[in-house]
């Protein structure tokens, strides 16, 4: 069965500094990886995905993620953090269940706090 780990419950970063939110995965076969963000009192918003191709994936709001097959990682990055980036970030892997459903398996989430 596939799994996703987000080793940090919380990440604090100063505004303007680069940020990284870590994610590692374990899947059989090719990984299909996603990042979602949840702002307070809002639903999960899709940020970016890796399906195939270039290991550096660019997404919404200036975020990007680097797929590293050898390290089984898919870390989320942004060159310069904004206070408005403060939110809960979820990494997810998508796989085909025995019943034929492409369901998402999520990590526990990482709370990002950007300090002014």
């Amino acid at each position: 069965a596939q799994s996703v780990a987000q080793p940090e419950d919380q990440v604090n970063v100063a505004e303007g500094n680069p940020l990284t939110v870590k994610c590692t995965y374990s899947v059989s076969g090719n990984p299909y990886l996603f990042w979602y963000v949840q702002y307070p009192n809002r639903g999960l918003q899709f940020l970016l995905k890796y399906i195939t191709g270039d290991n550096l994936v660019k997404g919404s709001y200036g975020f990007e993620a680097e797929f590293n097959k050898s390290q089984t990682s898919f870390h989320l990055k942004k060159p310069s953090a904004l206070v408005s980036d403060s939110a809960l970030y979820f990494c997810a892997v998508r796989d085909l269940s025995e019943a034929g459903s492409y369901q998402l398996t999520f990590g526990k989430g990482t709370k990002l706090s950007v300090i002014p």
């Binding site: 299909y32 639903g43 979820f90 369901q103």
Partner: protein
């Protein structure tokens, strides 16, 4: 286009009562998913509809949970009778296709508190 909507946003009920959550997917999305996040833990898959049919309900915790999607539009998730461990945030998501590259669009969730 309008996003995925869920109702109610928050529900507080007593143990043993019944609660029904509703999800309206994005118009034209045949695929509808339910997920649940128990406090501090991972978001877990519950089930997947394709139109009005259940494609996969392997994540449903037990037979106290009943999901329906009559007519292939909105879906309801009923919990009867509710237990304390059912507390959490219930998310609904929809997607246009079942293809692996299609992202799922999530609603704001329903926070269920069972006391």
């Amino acid at each position: 286009e309008a996003g995925v909507t869920q109702f109610p946003s928050h529900s507080v009920i007593e143990k043993g009562q019944t609660v029904t959550l509703r999800c309206d997917p994005i118009s034209g999305h045949d695929n509808l998913y339910w997920y649940r996040r128990v406090m501090g833990k991972e978001i877990k898959f519950l089930l997947h509809f394709v139109k009005e049919s259940k494609q996969d309900e392997s994540g449903m915790p037990n037979n106290r949970f009943l999901a329906e999607r009559t007519g292939g539009t909105y879906s309801t998730l009923k919990v009867q009778p509710a237990e304390l461990e059912d507390s959490g945030v219930y998310f609904c998501a929809s997607s246009y296709s079942t293809g692996i590259s299609y992202e799922q669009y999530f609603g704001p969730g329903t926070r269920l508190t069972v006391t």
